[in-house]
Amino acid sequence: MSRIESLAVAIEARLGARVRRLPSLPSELAFEVGPAQLTDVCLVLRDDPEFAFEQLVDLAGIDYLHHGQSEWRTLSATGSGFSRGVSRRAAPGDGASGDRFAVTSHLLSVSRNQRLRLRCPCIGDEPPMVDSLVDVWPSANWFEREAFDLFGIVFRGHPDLRRILTDYGFIGHPFRKDFPLSGHVEVRYDPEKERVVYEPVSIEPRVVVPKVIREDNRYQPILREVPDRG
């Protein structure tokens, strides 16, 4: 049994129903944990000598709003030919599903030389919420601030949840899939007012290369099973 498989078995034995294994590449290991159990599971993963994940390498938010939606239908042509790939996507869902946002952490055990990816779906959508991991790993501090800034994910128990990457006074969460790439406002210097002014963007949003999802049989054996998501 490979090291990854034996780690997976150990985690499943120790944490049981609190975690669910996710499909992943054979060289990686990923688990999903419910938001209610997140802190407990992380404490076990950090403190149990069998796992010893001393380091939180990375923590990032993800927005699944447009997951699996292509901008260009390739399997069937319409009567007027293929679409141009510039049509707007369907409006976002009702927001009650609660599985739009997730937080993914990458853990590293330096002493045992192994990695683990942990995904935790957020509670609710507006705002999405999840428990903070700052008390488990101090390095989570800025990573969580970043996820809050870019995705609007609120981390309960975070000591200092301020914006970090965007401008002072920025409105919105730019990495959400429904936030346009060109943003909502642009700035310019106004010589009459003698200051920099904010104005609505003048750029028309456009798609240069449409997103295309193709069925490609060549890649089937790579994943051990067809992933339900991600």
Binding site: S24, L165, F175, V212, R218, Y219, G230
Partner: protein, 417 residues
């Protein structure tokens, strides 16, 4: 009697010692720092969001612009993440070329770090010495990719082209005397590998020169010994990687522990510090310069003996040769599809990490089966290091802030992304 209160000092965002655009809000008690609050994001360009709107290959160039002093290492992580999802592996020669250029990049980065760190805390000469050697290495970048910094040289499935047989030479110009031209071109008479080999012969003596200027320098030691001490346990908890972690005494190096591409076949050592202060981290990086030189030499020897392809022949992912396109319809179609739509990557997630000069640079890539990444997250080593700024400078003097910024090897391209 007047009331004595702490006062707040604003450092940056435009400050020569801030290494870019760092704004630090410092709470001072006299000259002692009580609390440091870094404000970052002044160079935020939303690289990850931009990458989500482009075919995979078009974002390789963005990776250069993240950490703009260790360009090819960031490319390497991105390309590796795509290769992991596609389930392909670069040809052996391409792997060796990548290792060689990763190490050239490491030297480039550490020289930049050494020069600017020295300059920040009062050593002018070492900066000039470092940039002398950097010039040669940037010429290697130019020879292989056409640009001196933002190379876009690595591709999923290999590297863009093989090493050139002829090192580009300086051309005669009215501003350069013949004698100087001859001196400059003397080392450039052979191939790129000859030039790099000559560099590896010269470089250890150059490192000795830097060490003569700094290692036993009284002022240098006064400014770095005992400054910004981090214990190994704390370094792990704070997410430190790379020389910041090794300076605290943990022999953790992804090149050794989780070898990628050709690193498993290389012979080199991992230097570690003892005290976890700025001086130890300096010593670690100096030794890394020597070790990188060793690795480059091993790559040069191997690359000389083993010619071969540098790019996979799978034209669903890599472009066909121009020659094939002239006569082969299928090659033409492949080329057209690759350069308009790009290739689709199977649905799934991958995390690829490389030992970048600053620490672990990771790419978390989520694909939903499209020709663009669904989510791309760049794990920048400097981000975690700068987050520990408050802890590292609390209780130190104002002048030590500059030493700590220097020792973290901060580059805002990767922190702000």
């Amino acid at each position: 009697m007047a009331e004595i209160r702490n006062f707040t000092l604003n450092f940056g965002p435009q400050h020569p010692a801030a290494h870019g655009v760092l704004r630090l809000v410092l709470e001072m008690d006299g000259e002692v720092i009580q609390k440091a609050d870094p404000h970052i994001g002044l160079l935020h360009r939303a690289t990850e969001k931009l990458a989500e709107t482009k075919p995979f290959n078009q974002s390789i160039g963005y990776m250069d612009r993240l950490d703009y002093v260790s360009m090819m290492c960031s490319e390497h992580a991105y390309v590796m993440a795509i290769e992991k999802l596609l389930g392909i592996e670069a040809p052996l020669r391409a792997q060796y070329i990548r290792v060689m250029f990763d190490e050239i990049t490491r030297i480039l980065n550490h020289l930049m770090w050494l020069g600017s760190h020295g300059l920040d805390i009062g050593a002018m000469t070492v900066f000039l010495y470092c940039f002398r050697e950097r010039e040669d290495l940037m010429d290697c970048y130019e020879a292989v990719s056409g640009t001196r910094m933002h190379a876009t040289y690595y591709r999923p499935g290999g590297v863009y082209r093989d090493l050139p047989e002829q090192m580009p030479q300086f051309q005669p110009s009215p501003w350069r005397k013949d004698k100087e031209l001859k001196r400059l071109n003397e080392r450039r008479s052979g191939s790129l590998l000859d030039f790099i080999e000559d560099f590896t012969d010269r470089f250890p003596a150059c490192v000795d020169e830097y060490e003569t200027l700094l290692t036993d320098n009284r002022i240098w030691k006064q400014r770095t010994v005992g400054i910004g001490v981090v214990s190994p346990e704390r370094a792990l908890a704070l997410g430190f990687t790379g020389p910041m972690l090794r300076g605290s005494g943990l022999a953790w190096d992804l090149r050794k522990k989780q070898p990628y591409d050709g690193y498993g076949k290389m012979d080199f050592d991992i230097p570690v510090g003892v005290n976890g202060d700025c001086y130890d981290r300096y010593l670690v990086r100096i030794e890394e310069l020597r070790q990188s030189n060793r690795i480059i030499r091993q790559c040069v020897d191997w690359l000389r003996a083993n010619p071969g392809p540098v790019m996979l022949a799978d034209h669903k992912v890599t472009p066909p040769s121009r020659e094939d396109m002239k006569g082969d319809m299928e090659a033409l179609i492949h080329h057209f599809k690759l350069f308009t739509e790009g290739y689709t990557v199977p649905a799934g997630e991958a995390y690829a990490a490389v030992e970048a000069p600053k620490g672990e640079f990771g790419i978390w890539l989520v694909s939903d089966g499209a020709n663009k990444p669904y989510r791309l997250k760049c794990r920048a080593p400097g981000f975690a290091h700068l987050a520990a700024m408050d802890e590292m400078v609390a209780g130190h003097m104002l002048a030590d802030v500059v030493a700590v910024i220097g020792t973290m090897d901060i580059v805002f391209g990767e922190i702000d992304r």
